[in-house]
Amino acid sequence: MRRYRRRHVARIGLALLSFAAFLALWQGVVWLGDYPPFILPSPGAALKRLGDLLADGSLWFHARVTLREVLAGLGLGALVATLLGYGLGHSPLAERLLTPYIVASQSVPVVSIAPLLVIWFGTGLLSKVLVCALTVFFPILVNTVVGVRSVGRELRDLMQALEASRWQTVWLLEVPAALPVLLGGLKVGATLAVIGAVVGEFVASDRGLGYLLKQGQQLYDTSLVFVGIGALMVLAQSLYGVVALAERIVLRGRQDVMHG
Protein backbone atom coordinates (compact mmCIF):
# COMPACT_ATOMS: atom_id res chain seq x y z
CA MET A 1 0.00 0.00 0.00
CA ARG A 2 2.83 2.35 0.98
CA ARG A 3 4.72 1.42 -2.15
CA TYR A 4 1.60 2.18 -4.25
CA ARG A 5 1.20 5.57 -2.56
CA ARG A 6 4.88 6.38 -3.13
CA ARG A 7 4.55 5.46 -6.81
CA HIS A 8 1.42 7.60 -7.08
CA VAL A 9 3.17 10.61 -5.51
CA ALA A 10 6.16 10.09 -7.80
CA ARG A 11 3.87 10.05 -10.81
CA ILE A 12 2.19 13.31 -9.80
CA GLY A 13 5.59 14.84 -9.08
CA LEU A 14 6.82 13.84 -12.52
CA ALA A 15 3.74 15.34 -14.16
CA LEU A 16 4.23 18.61 -12.28
CA LEU A 17 7.91 18.64 -13.14
CA SER A 18 7.23 18.11 -16.84
CA PHE A 19 4.63 20.89 -16.77
CA ALA A 20 7.12 23.25 -15.07
CA ALA A 21 9.73 22.30 -17.69
CA PHE A 22 7.20 23.03 -20.44
CA LEU A 23 6.48 26.48 -18.95
CA ALA A 24 10.21 27.19 -18.61
CA LEU A 25 10.80 26.17 -22.22
CA TRP A 26 7.90 28.36 -23.36
CA GLN A 27 9.24 31.34 -21.40
CA GLY A 28 12.70 30.66 -22.82
CA VAL A 29 11.38 30.76 -26.38
CA VAL A 30 9.60 34.07 -25.65
CA TRP A 31 12.80 35.56 -24.21
CA LEU A 32 15.15 34.29 -26.88
CA GLY A 33 12.84 35.14 -29.78
CA ASP A 34 11.79 38.45 -28.24
CA TYR A 35 8.30 37.81 -29.56
CA PRO A 36 5.56 40.38 -29.08
CA PRO A 37 2.49 39.08 -27.20
CA PHE A 38 0.31 38.91 -30.34
CA ILE A 39 2.70 36.31 -31.80
CA LEU A 40 3.60 34.39 -28.65
CA PRO A 41 2.45 35.57 -25.22
CA SER A 42 4.50 34.60 -22.20
CA PRO A 43 3.21 31.87 -19.88
CA GLY A 44 2.63 34.61 -17.31
CA ALA A 45 0.38 36.56 -19.69
CA ALA A 46 -1.59 33.44 -20.62
CA LEU A 47 -1.97 32.42 -16.97
CA LYS A 48 -3.12 35.93 -16.07
CA ARG A 49 -5.74 35.75 -18.83
CA LEU A 50 -6.79 32.37 -17.49
CA GLY A 51 -7.10 33.83 -14.01
CA ASP A 52 -9.26 36.71 -15.30
CA LEU A 53 -11.59 34.35 -17.17
CA LEU A 54 -11.89 32.06 -14.18
CA ALA A 55 -12.55 34.99 -11.85
CA ASP A 56 -15.38 36.45 -13.94
CA GLY A 57 -16.84 32.99 -14.56
CA SER A 58 -16.76 33.27 -18.34
CA LEU A 59 -14.42 30.31 -18.87
CA TRP A 60 -16.68 28.01 -16.89
CA PHE A 61 -19.72 29.36 -18.76
CA HIS A 62 -18.19 28.65 -22.19
CA ALA A 63 -16.77 25.29 -21.08
CA ARG A 64 -20.20 24.19 -19.85
CA VAL A 65 -21.76 25.04 -23.22
CA THR A 66 -19.15 23.01 -25.08
CA LEU A 67 -19.36 20.13 -22.62
CA ARG A 68 -23.12 19.92 -23.11
CA GLU A 69 -22.69 19.79 -26.90
CA VAL A 70 -19.93 17.19 -26.61
CA LEU A 71 -21.86 14.90 -24.28
CA ALA A 72 -25.05 15.09 -26.36
CA GLY A 73 -23.11 14.61 -29.62
CA LEU A 74 -21.05 11.77 -28.23
CA GLY A 75 -24.17 10.08 -26.88
CA LEU A 76 -26.06 10.38 -30.16
CA GLY A 77 -23.09 9.42 -32.33
CA ALA A 78 -22.22 6.47 -30.11
CA LEU A 79 -25.82 5.22 -30.05
CA VAL A 80 -26.30 5.35 -33.82
CA ALA A 81 -22.82 3.99 -34.54
CA THR A 82 -23.24 1.11 -32.09
CA LEU A 83 -26.64 0.11 -33.44
CA LEU A 84 -25.50 0.32 -37.06
CA GLY A 85 -22.18 -1.34 -36.23
CA TYR A 86 -24.02 -4.21 -34.58
CA GLY A 87 -26.13 -4.68 -37.70
CA LEU A 88 -23.14 -4.53 -40.00
CA GLY A 89 -21.21 -6.91 -37.76
CA HIS A 90 -23.93 -9.49 -38.18
CA SER A 91 -24.83 -8.95 -41.80
CA PRO A 92 -22.01 -9.27 -44.33
CA LEU A 93 -24.47 -8.28 -47.07
CA ALA A 94 -25.40 -5.03 -45.30
CA GLU A 95 -21.74 -4.38 -44.68
CA ARG A 96 -20.89 -4.89 -48.35
CA LEU A 97 -23.73 -2.56 -49.37
CA LEU A 98 -23.17 0.22 -46.85
CA THR A 99 -19.44 0.25 -46.14
CA PRO A 100 -18.40 2.01 -49.37
CA TYR A 101 -20.81 4.86 -48.57
CA ILE A 102 -19.76 5.06 -44.94
CA VAL A 103 -16.07 5.10 -45.84
CA ALA A 104 -16.65 7.65 -48.60
CA SER A 105 -18.53 9.88 -46.15
CA GLN A 106 -15.40 10.00 -44.02
CA SER A 107 -13.48 11.72 -46.80
CA VAL A 108 -15.84 14.71 -46.52
CA PRO A 109 -14.40 17.20 -44.03
CA VAL A 110 -16.86 17.93 -41.22
CA VAL A 111 -15.95 21.58 -41.54
CA SER A 112 -17.57 21.66 -44.99
CA ILE A 113 -20.79 20.06 -43.76
CA ALA A 114 -21.11 22.12 -40.59
CA PRO A 115 -22.48 25.26 -42.31
CA LEU A 116 -25.10 23.11 -44.06
CA LEU A 117 -26.17 21.60 -40.75
CA VAL A 118 -26.57 25.10 -39.38
CA ILE A 119 -28.79 26.00 -42.34
CA TRP A 120 -30.86 22.81 -42.06
CA PHE A 121 -31.17 22.51 -38.29
CA GLY A 122 -30.77 26.08 -37.09
CA THR A 123 -28.07 27.80 -35.11
CA GLY A 124 -28.95 26.28 -31.74
CA LEU A 125 -27.72 23.24 -29.87
CA LEU A 126 -28.97 20.66 -32.38
CA SER A 127 -26.64 21.59 -35.24
CA LYS A 128 -23.58 21.44 -32.94
CA VAL A 129 -24.70 18.12 -31.48
CA LEU A 130 -25.04 16.72 -35.01
CA VAL A 131 -21.56 17.93 -35.98
CA CYS A 132 -20.19 16.18 -32.87
CA ALA A 133 -22.17 13.03 -33.62
CA LEU A 134 -20.85 12.92 -37.20
CA THR A 135 -17.30 13.33 -35.95
CA VAL A 136 -17.46 10.46 -33.47
CA PHE A 137 -19.60 8.16 -35.61
CA PHE A 138 -16.95 6.43 -37.70
CA PRO A 139 -14.39 5.28 -35.09
CA ILE A 140 -17.16 3.96 -32.86
CA LEU A 141 -18.84 2.19 -35.78
CA VAL A 142 -15.64 0.50 -36.88
CA ASN A 143 -14.84 -0.61 -33.35
CA THR A 144 -18.36 -1.96 -32.88
CA VAL A 145 -18.10 -4.07 -36.04
CA VAL A 146 -14.70 -5.37 -34.93
CA GLY A 147 -16.03 -6.01 -31.42
CA VAL A 148 -19.09 -7.94 -32.58
CA ARG A 149 -16.96 -10.00 -34.98
CA SER A 150 -14.46 -10.79 -32.25
CA VAL A 151 -16.91 -13.08 -30.46
CA GLY A 152 -15.67 -16.63 -31.01
CA ARG A 153 -17.74 -19.16 -32.99
CA GLU A 154 -17.48 -21.71 -30.18
CA LEU A 155 -19.00 -19.28 -27.67
CA ARG A 156 -21.91 -18.63 -30.01
CA ASP A 157 -22.38 -22.36 -30.42
CA LEU A 158 -22.34 -22.71 -26.66
CA MET A 159 -25.05 -20.07 -26.25
CA GLN A 160 -27.09 -21.85 -28.89
CA ALA A 161 -26.62 -25.18 -27.12
CA LEU A 162 -27.82 -23.54 -23.92
CA GLU A 163 -30.88 -22.31 -25.83
CA ALA A 164 -30.12 -18.69 -24.99
CA SER A 165 -32.55 -16.16 -26.43
CA ARG A 166 -31.40 -13.43 -28.84
CA TRP A 167 -31.28 -10.87 -26.03
CA GLN A 168 -29.45 -13.22 -23.72
CA THR A 169 -26.82 -13.76 -26.41
CA VAL A 170 -26.48 -10.01 -26.81
CA TRP A 171 -26.25 -9.15 -23.10
CA LEU A 172 -24.42 -12.15 -21.79
CA LEU A 173 -22.04 -12.83 -24.66
CA GLU A 174 -21.69 -10.16 -27.30
CA VAL A 175 -21.70 -7.04 -25.13
CA PRO A 176 -19.12 -8.31 -22.62
CA ALA A 177 -16.95 -9.75 -25.39
CA ALA A 178 -17.05 -6.62 -27.50
CA LEU A 179 -16.77 -4.19 -24.60
CA PRO A 180 -12.96 -3.63 -24.65
CA VAL A 181 -13.03 -2.76 -28.35
CA LEU A 182 -16.20 -0.67 -27.95
CA LEU A 183 -14.67 1.34 -25.13
CA GLY A 184 -11.54 1.81 -27.22
CA GLY A 185 -13.72 3.41 -29.90
CA LEU A 186 -15.49 5.51 -27.32
CA LYS A 187 -12.15 6.83 -26.03
CA VAL A 188 -11.22 8.01 -29.52
CA GLY A 189 -14.75 9.36 -30.00
CA ALA A 190 -14.63 11.33 -26.75
CA THR A 191 -11.62 13.33 -27.89
CA LEU A 192 -12.94 13.75 -31.43
CA ALA A 193 -16.27 15.03 -30.09
CA VAL A 194 -14.48 18.06 -28.68
CA ILE A 195 -13.18 18.89 -32.16
CA GLY A 196 -16.71 18.45 -33.53
CA ALA A 197 -18.16 20.89 -31.01
CA VAL A 198 -15.49 23.48 -31.84
CA VAL A 199 -16.18 23.14 -35.57
CA GLY A 200 -19.89 23.70 -34.93
CA GLU A 201 -19.19 26.71 -32.75
CA PHE A 202 -16.84 28.16 -35.33
CA VAL A 203 -19.66 28.28 -37.89
CA ALA A 204 -22.26 30.09 -35.83
CA SER A 205 -22.33 30.67 -32.10
CA ASP A 206 -21.96 33.27 -29.43
CA ARG A 207 -20.87 30.90 -26.68
CA GLY A 208 -18.67 27.88 -26.09
CA LEU A 209 -14.92 27.30 -26.07
CA GLY A 210 -14.82 27.32 -29.89
CA TYR A 211 -16.43 30.75 -29.84
CA LEU A 212 -13.89 31.90 -27.24
CA LEU A 213 -11.08 30.66 -29.48
CA LYS A 214 -12.51 32.44 -32.50
CA GLN A 215 -13.00 35.61 -30.51
CA GLY A 216 -9.35 35.48 -29.45
CA GLN A 217 -8.28 35.11 -33.08
CA GLN A 218 -10.52 37.91 -34.29
CA LEU A 219 -9.46 40.30 -31.55
CA TYR A 220 -5.73 39.48 -31.92
CA ASP A 221 -5.84 38.35 -28.30
CA THR A 222 -3.37 35.46 -28.53
CA SER A 223 -3.45 34.89 -24.75
CA LEU A 224 -7.18 34.22 -25.06
CA VAL A 225 -6.48 31.76 -27.89
CA PHE A 226 -4.00 29.94 -25.64
CA VAL A 227 -6.53 29.80 -22.79
CA GLY A 228 -9.17 28.43 -25.19
CA ILE A 229 -6.80 25.77 -26.52
CA GLY A 230 -5.75 24.85 -22.99
CA ALA A 231 -9.37 24.54 -21.85
CA LEU A 232 -10.20 22.31 -24.83
CA MET A 233 -7.21 20.10 -24.04
CA VAL A 234 -8.33 19.76 -20.42
CA LEU A 235 -11.86 18.95 -21.55
CA ALA A 236 -10.68 16.29 -24.02
CA GLN A 237 -8.27 14.82 -21.45
CA SER A 238 -11.03 14.67 -18.83
CA LEU A 239 -13.44 12.93 -21.17
CA TYR A 240 -10.75 10.49 -22.21
CA GLY A 241 -9.94 9.91 -18.54
CA VAL A 242 -13.58 9.23 -17.65
CA VAL A 243 -13.95 6.67 -20.46
CA ALA A 244 -10.58 5.11 -19.55
CA LEU A 245 -11.71 4.85 -15.93
CA ALA A 246 -15.00 3.27 -16.99
CA GLU A 247 -13.02 0.88 -19.17
CA ARG A 248 -10.83 -0.12 -16.21
CA ILE A 249 -13.79 -0.67 -13.94
CA VAL A 250 -15.73 -2.65 -16.54
CA LEU A 251 -12.76 -4.77 -17.55
CA ARG A 252 -11.85 -5.45 -13.92
CA GLY A 253 -15.43 -6.56 -13.32
CA ARG A 254 -15.20 -8.77 -16.37
CA GLN A 255 -11.96 -10.35 -15.14
CA ASP A 256 -13.53 -10.97 -11.72
CA VAL A 257 -16.41 -12.79 -13.41
CA MET A 258 -14.06 -14.80 -15.61
CA HIS A 259 -11.80 -15.77 -12.71
CA GLY A 260 -14.72 -16.67 -10.57
Binding site: F38, P115, I119, T123, Q217, Q218, Y220, D221, T222
Partner: protein
Amino acid sequence: MILTVKRGTRGERGFVLFTLFLLAGLTACTSTANPTPQATHIRLPMGFVANVQFAPWYVAVERGYFAAEGIELEFDYSWETDGVRLVGAGELPFAIASGDQVLLARAQGLPVVTVVGWFRRFPVTVVALEGSGIQDPQDLVGRKVGVPETFGASYIGWRALAAAVGLEEQDVPLEVIGYTQLANLTEGRVDAAVVYANNEPVQLEQMGYDFTSISVADYATLVSNGLVTNEEMLQEHPELVRAFIRAFLRGLADTLDDPDGAFEVGRKYVEGLDENETGQRAVLEATILYWQGEPLGWSGLAAWQETEEVMLEAGLLSRPVEAEKAFTNDYLP
Protein backbone atom coordinates in the same frame (compact mmCIF):
# COMPACT_ATOMS: atom_id res chain seq x y z
CA MET B 1 10.47 42.55 -42.97
CA ILE B 2 10.58 40.27 -45.96
CA LEU B 3 10.49 41.70 -49.43
CA THR B 4 11.23 38.69 -51.56
CA VAL B 5 12.82 39.38 -54.92
CA LYS B 6 11.62 36.70 -57.28
CA ARG B 7 14.37 34.80 -58.99
CA GLY B 8 14.15 33.75 -62.60
CA THR B 9 12.64 30.45 -63.67
CA ARG B 10 14.89 27.48 -64.42
CA GLY B 11 14.58 28.17 -68.15
CA GLU B 12 15.53 31.80 -67.68
CA ARG B 13 18.48 30.88 -65.51
CA GLY B 14 19.65 28.36 -68.12
CA PHE B 15 19.40 30.99 -70.81
CA VAL B 16 21.41 33.45 -68.72
CA LEU B 17 24.11 30.86 -68.04
CA PHE B 18 24.29 29.97 -71.72
CA THR B 19 24.61 33.62 -72.64
CA LEU B 20 27.34 34.16 -70.05
CA PHE B 21 29.21 31.16 -71.44
CA LEU B 22 29.10 32.59 -74.95
CA LEU B 23 30.28 35.95 -73.69
CA ALA B 24 33.16 34.37 -71.85
CA GLY B 25 34.20 32.63 -75.09
CA LEU B 26 34.18 35.86 -77.03
CA THR B 27 37.21 37.37 -75.33
CA ALA B 28 37.39 40.23 -77.78
CA CYS B 29 34.04 41.44 -76.67
CA THR B 30 34.05 43.62 -73.55
CA SER B 31 30.40 44.50 -73.32
CA THR B 32 29.16 46.56 -70.36
CA ALA B 33 25.42 45.82 -70.67
CA ASN B 34 23.13 47.44 -68.10
CA PRO B 35 21.70 44.89 -65.58
CA THR B 36 17.94 44.39 -65.80
CA PRO B 37 16.31 45.72 -62.64
CA GLN B 38 14.65 42.92 -60.69
CA ALA B 39 11.07 43.34 -59.61
CA THR B 40 10.24 43.43 -55.92
CA HIS B 41 8.02 40.46 -55.24
CA ILE B 42 5.17 41.18 -52.84
CA ARG B 43 2.64 38.71 -51.52
CA LEU B 44 -0.62 40.44 -50.67
CA PRO B 45 -3.09 38.78 -48.26
CA MET B 46 -6.52 39.60 -49.67
CA GLY B 47 -8.67 38.48 -46.70
CA PHE B 48 -11.17 36.68 -48.92
CA VAL B 49 -11.39 34.25 -51.82
CA ALA B 50 -10.74 35.36 -55.40
CA ASN B 51 -13.69 37.59 -56.17
CA VAL B 52 -14.90 40.14 -58.66
CA GLN B 53 -14.69 42.70 -55.83
CA PHE B 54 -10.91 42.59 -56.24
CA ALA B 55 -11.23 43.81 -59.82
CA PRO B 56 -9.10 46.97 -59.27
CA TRP B 57 -6.18 44.79 -58.16
CA TYR B 58 -6.55 42.48 -61.14
CA VAL B 59 -6.74 45.47 -63.47
CA ALA B 60 -3.63 47.03 -61.93
CA VAL B 61 -1.67 43.83 -62.45
CA GLU B 62 -2.95 43.05 -65.94
CA ARG B 63 -2.39 46.57 -67.23
CA GLY B 64 1.16 46.57 -65.90
CA TYR B 65 0.74 49.28 -63.27
CA PHE B 66 2.55 47.28 -60.61
CA ALA B 67 5.21 46.15 -63.08
CA ALA B 68 5.78 49.80 -64.03
CA GLU B 69 6.55 50.48 -60.35
CA GLY B 70 8.97 47.56 -60.23
CA ILE B 71 6.57 45.38 -58.23
CA GLU B 72 5.60 41.83 -58.93
CA LEU B 73 2.36 41.18 -57.06
CA GLU B 74 1.17 37.79 -55.84
CA PHE B 75 -2.38 37.43 -54.52
CA ASP B 76 -2.75 35.44 -51.33
CA TYR B 77 -6.37 34.60 -50.55
CA SER B 78 -5.86 33.98 -46.86
CA TRP B 79 -7.78 35.12 -43.78
CA GLU B 80 -7.91 38.81 -43.02
CA THR B 81 -6.65 38.38 -39.43
CA ASP B 82 -3.70 36.28 -40.60
CA GLY B 83 -2.71 38.97 -43.10
CA VAL B 84 -2.87 41.69 -40.46
CA ARG B 85 -0.80 39.57 -38.08
CA LEU B 86 1.87 38.98 -40.72
CA VAL B 87 2.03 42.67 -41.57
CA GLY B 88 2.12 43.59 -37.88
CA ALA B 89 4.96 41.16 -37.29
CA GLY B 90 6.86 42.62 -40.25
CA GLU B 91 6.69 39.38 -42.20
CA LEU B 92 4.75 40.90 -45.08
CA PRO B 93 4.67 44.53 -46.23
CA PHE B 94 0.97 44.92 -47.08
CA ALA B 95 -2.45 43.37 -46.55
CA ILE B 96 -6.06 44.23 -47.28
CA ALA B 97 -8.03 44.67 -44.07
CA SER B 98 -10.96 46.58 -42.68
CA GLY B 99 -10.55 49.54 -40.36
CA ASP B 100 -11.95 47.70 -37.35
CA GLN B 101 -9.26 45.04 -37.76
CA VAL B 102 -6.62 47.73 -37.77
CA LEU B 103 -7.96 49.22 -34.53
CA LEU B 104 -8.19 45.79 -32.89
CA ALA B 105 -4.69 44.93 -34.00
CA ARG B 106 -3.28 48.21 -32.72
CA ALA B 107 -5.00 47.62 -29.38
CA GLN B 108 -2.93 44.42 -29.11
CA GLY B 109 0.29 46.19 -30.02
CA LEU B 110 0.49 45.42 -33.76
CA PRO B 111 1.97 48.49 -35.46
CA VAL B 112 -0.32 48.39 -38.50
CA VAL B 113 -1.49 51.48 -40.37
CA THR B 114 -4.08 51.94 -43.12
CA VAL B 115 -2.55 53.83 -46.03
CA VAL B 116 -5.42 53.59 -48.52
CA GLY B 117 -9.10 53.94 -47.68
CA TRP B 118 -10.30 51.73 -50.50
CA PHE B 119 -14.01 51.51 -49.52
CA ARG B 120 -15.36 54.99 -48.92
CA ARG B 121 -18.73 53.90 -47.57
CA PHE B 122 -19.35 51.15 -45.05
CA PRO B 123 -20.76 48.22 -47.05
CA VAL B 124 -23.02 46.67 -44.41
CA THR B 125 -26.80 46.70 -44.51
CA VAL B 126 -29.77 45.16 -42.74
CA VAL B 127 -32.12 43.31 -45.06
CA ALA B 128 -35.68 42.18 -44.41
CA LEU B 129 -38.06 40.51 -46.81
CA GLU B 130 -41.05 42.34 -48.21
CA GLY B 131 -44.07 41.70 -46.05
CA SER B 132 -42.08 41.57 -42.82
CA GLY B 133 -43.30 45.07 -42.00
CA ILE B 134 -39.74 46.29 -41.60
CA GLN B 135 -39.14 49.54 -43.46
CA ASP B 136 -36.84 51.50 -41.19
CA PRO B 137 -34.62 50.81 -38.15
CA GLN B 138 -37.38 51.49 -35.60
CA ASP B 139 -39.40 48.63 -37.09
CA LEU B 140 -36.69 46.26 -35.85
CA VAL B 141 -37.81 46.66 -32.23
CA GLY B 142 -38.85 43.24 -30.93
CA ARG B 143 -37.88 41.51 -34.18
CA LYS B 144 -35.25 38.81 -34.41
CA VAL B 145 -32.15 40.04 -36.24
CA GLY B 146 -29.45 37.64 -37.43
CA VAL B 147 -25.78 38.64 -37.28
CA PRO B 148 -22.95 36.46 -38.59
CA GLU B 149 -20.77 36.94 -35.51
CA THR B 150 -20.46 39.11 -32.43
CA PHE B 151 -17.36 40.75 -33.84
CA GLY B 152 -16.24 41.84 -37.30
CA ALA B 153 -17.57 44.43 -39.73
CA SER B 154 -21.19 43.20 -39.75
CA TYR B 155 -21.53 43.37 -35.99
CA ILE B 156 -19.81 46.74 -35.77
CA GLY B 157 -22.11 48.01 -38.51
CA TRP B 158 -25.13 46.76 -36.60
CA ARG B 159 -23.95 48.38 -33.34
CA ALA B 160 -23.32 51.68 -35.14
CA LEU B 161 -26.78 51.60 -36.73
CA ALA B 162 -28.45 50.73 -33.44
CA ALA B 163 -26.60 53.51 -31.62
CA ALA B 164 -27.43 56.04 -34.34
CA VAL B 165 -31.18 55.42 -34.13
CA GLY B 166 -31.29 54.90 -30.36
CA LEU B 167 -32.00 51.18 -30.28
CA GLU B 168 -30.98 49.56 -27.00
CA GLU B 169 -29.50 46.07 -26.79
CA GLN B 170 -32.66 44.70 -25.18
CA ASP B 171 -34.86 46.23 -27.90
CA VAL B 172 -33.72 43.83 -30.62
CA PRO B 173 -33.06 40.15 -29.95
CA LEU B 174 -29.88 39.27 -31.87
CA GLU B 175 -29.14 35.78 -33.06
CA VAL B 176 -25.70 34.65 -34.21
CA ILE B 177 -26.31 32.75 -37.45
CA GLY B 178 -22.87 32.61 -39.06
CA TYR B 179 -22.61 33.38 -42.75
CA THR B 180 -25.93 31.67 -43.49
CA GLN B 181 -27.98 34.85 -43.48
CA LEU B 182 -29.93 34.27 -46.69
CA ALA B 183 -31.02 30.75 -45.74
CA ASN B 184 -32.14 31.95 -42.32
CA LEU B 185 -33.93 34.95 -43.77
CA THR B 186 -35.76 33.15 -46.55
CA GLU B 187 -36.69 30.28 -44.20
CA GLY B 188 -38.18 32.80 -41.78
CA ARG B 189 -35.87 31.90 -38.88
CA VAL B 190 -34.93 35.56 -38.51
CA ASP B 191 -36.93 38.69 -39.37
CA ALA B 192 -33.92 40.59 -40.66
CA ALA B 193 -30.24 39.89 -41.23
CA VAL B 194 -27.07 41.96 -41.20
CA VAL B 195 -25.26 41.38 -44.49
CA TYR B 196 -22.69 42.84 -46.85
CA ALA B 197 -24.49 45.40 -48.98
CA ASN B 198 -22.67 44.45 -52.16
CA ASN B 199 -23.32 40.73 -51.93
CA GLU B 200 -26.41 39.24 -50.25
CA PRO B 201 -28.89 41.90 -51.52
CA VAL B 202 -27.69 41.13 -55.05
CA GLN B 203 -28.28 37.44 -54.44
CA LEU B 204 -31.76 38.11 -53.01
CA GLU B 205 -32.59 40.07 -56.12
CA GLN B 206 -31.33 37.27 -58.32
CA MET B 207 -33.48 34.81 -56.38
CA GLY B 208 -36.51 36.98 -57.05
CA TYR B 209 -37.23 38.23 -53.53
CA ASP B 210 -38.50 41.71 -52.78
CA PHE B 211 -36.81 43.16 -49.75
CA THR B 212 -36.00 46.26 -47.74
CA SER B 213 -32.41 47.28 -47.20
CA ILE B 214 -31.37 49.59 -44.35
CA SER B 215 -27.85 50.74 -45.15
CA VAL B 216 -25.55 51.40 -42.20
CA ALA B 217 -23.72 54.01 -44.27
CA ASP B 218 -26.89 56.16 -44.25
CA TYR B 219 -26.73 56.38 -40.45
CA ALA B 220 -23.05 56.16 -39.52
CA THR B 221 -19.66 56.97 -41.02
CA LEU B 222 -17.37 54.03 -40.37
CA VAL B 223 -14.09 52.95 -41.90
CA SER B 224 -14.10 49.90 -44.08
CA ASN B 225 -11.59 47.97 -46.21
CA GLY B 226 -8.26 49.50 -47.00
CA LEU B 227 -4.65 48.80 -47.71
CA VAL B 228 -2.65 48.18 -44.58
CA THR B 229 1.08 48.34 -43.96
CA ASN B 230 3.23 48.65 -40.85
CA GLU B 231 5.07 51.56 -39.24
CA GLU B 232 8.47 50.15 -40.17
CA MET B 233 7.52 50.12 -43.85
CA LEU B 234 6.46 53.75 -43.63
CA GLN B 235 9.78 54.73 -42.08
CA GLU B 236 12.16 52.46 -43.98
CA HIS B 237 10.52 52.08 -47.40
CA PRO B 238 8.26 55.08 -47.99
CA GLU B 239 8.96 55.02 -51.73
CA LEU B 240 7.84 51.43 -52.04
CA VAL B 241 4.66 52.29 -50.12
CA ARG B 242 3.99 55.20 -52.48
CA ALA B 243 4.72 53.08 -55.55
CA PHE B 244 2.41 50.33 -54.35
CA ILE B 245 -0.40 52.79 -53.64
CA ARG B 246 0.08 54.53 -57.01
CA ALA B 247 -0.24 51.25 -58.87
CA PHE B 248 -3.35 50.20 -56.98
CA LEU B 249 -5.08 53.55 -57.35
CA ARG B 250 -4.52 53.45 -61.11
CA GLY B 251 -6.28 50.09 -61.15
CA LEU B 252 -9.08 51.48 -59.00
CA ALA B 253 -9.52 54.53 -61.24
CA ASP B 254 -9.64 52.33 -64.33
CA THR B 255 -12.25 50.07 -62.73
CA LEU B 256 -14.45 53.03 -61.81
CA ASP B 257 -14.11 54.45 -65.34
CA ASP B 258 -14.66 51.20 -67.15
CA PRO B 259 -16.41 48.50 -65.10
CA ASP B 260 -16.97 46.39 -68.23
CA GLY B 261 -13.27 46.28 -68.97
CA ALA B 262 -12.49 45.48 -65.33
CA PHE B 263 -15.01 42.65 -65.37
CA GLU B 264 -13.35 41.20 -68.44
CA VAL B 265 -9.97 41.33 -66.69
CA GLY B 266 -11.50 39.58 -63.67
CA ARG B 267 -12.41 36.51 -65.75
CA LYS B 268 -8.78 35.42 -65.66
CA TYR B 269 -8.66 35.49 -61.86
CA VAL B 270 -12.10 34.50 -60.62
CA GLU B 271 -13.39 31.01 -61.19
CA GLY B 272 -17.08 30.77 -62.03
CA LEU B 273 -17.34 34.31 -63.32
CA ASP B 274 -18.43 33.11 -66.75
CA GLU B 275 -21.09 30.76 -65.35
CA ASN B 276 -22.77 33.43 -63.22
CA GLU B 277 -22.00 36.50 -65.28
CA THR B 278 -25.19 38.43 -64.52
CA GLY B 279 -24.95 37.99 -60.78
CA GLN B 280 -21.26 38.75 -60.60
CA ARG B 281 -21.67 41.79 -62.81
CA ALA B 282 -24.31 43.01 -60.38
CA VAL B 283 -21.94 42.41 -57.44
CA LEU B 284 -19.24 44.49 -59.14
CA GLU B 285 -21.67 47.30 -59.91
CA ALA B 286 -22.98 47.29 -56.34
CA THR B 287 -19.44 47.34 -54.96
CA ILE B 288 -18.28 50.19 -57.17
CA LEU B 289 -20.72 52.50 -55.39
CA TYR B 290 -18.76 51.94 -52.19
CA TRP B 291 -15.39 52.85 -53.73
CA GLN B 292 -16.40 56.20 -55.17
CA GLY B 293 -15.10 59.35 -53.50
CA GLU B 294 -12.49 61.95 -54.25
CA PRO B 295 -9.61 61.86 -53.72
CA LEU B 296 -9.40 58.13 -54.23
CA GLY B 297 -7.96 56.22 -51.29
CA TRP B 298 -8.48 59.00 -48.75
CA SER B 299 -9.87 58.33 -45.29
CA GLY B 300 -10.96 60.79 -42.61
CA LEU B 301 -10.36 60.97 -38.87
CA ALA B 302 -14.09 61.32 -38.09
CA ALA B 303 -14.83 57.87 -39.53
CA TRP B 304 -11.95 56.30 -37.59
CA GLN B 305 -13.09 57.94 -34.37
CA GLU B 306 -16.68 56.86 -34.86
CA THR B 307 -15.56 53.31 -35.52
CA GLU B 308 -13.42 53.39 -32.37
CA GLU B 309 -16.37 54.70 -30.32
CA VAL B 310 -18.68 51.97 -31.57
CA MET B 311 -16.09 49.31 -30.81
CA LEU B 312 -15.51 50.68 -27.31
CA GLU B 313 -19.25 50.67 -26.65
CA ALA B 314 -19.58 47.13 -27.97
CA GLY B 315 -16.75 45.97 -25.71
CA LEU B 316 -14.58 44.96 -28.65
CA LEU B 317 -11.99 47.49 -27.54
CA SER B 318 -11.25 47.75 -23.84
CA ARG B 319 -9.49 51.12 -24.09
CA PRO B 320 -9.03 53.92 -26.68
CA VAL B 321 -6.35 53.26 -29.28
CA GLU B 322 -5.53 56.70 -30.72
CA ALA B 323 -7.47 56.45 -33.96
CA GLU B 324 -5.36 59.16 -35.58
CA LYS B 325 -2.36 56.81 -35.57
CA ALA B 326 -4.27 54.00 -37.25
CA PHE B 327 -4.27 55.62 -40.69
CA THR B 328 -2.46 58.12 -42.84
CA ASN B 329 -3.18 59.89 -46.13
CA ASP B 330 0.42 61.07 -46.47
CA TYR B 331 1.43 58.43 -48.99
CA LEU B 332 -1.38 59.02 -51.46
CA PRO B 333 -0.30 60.54 -54.79
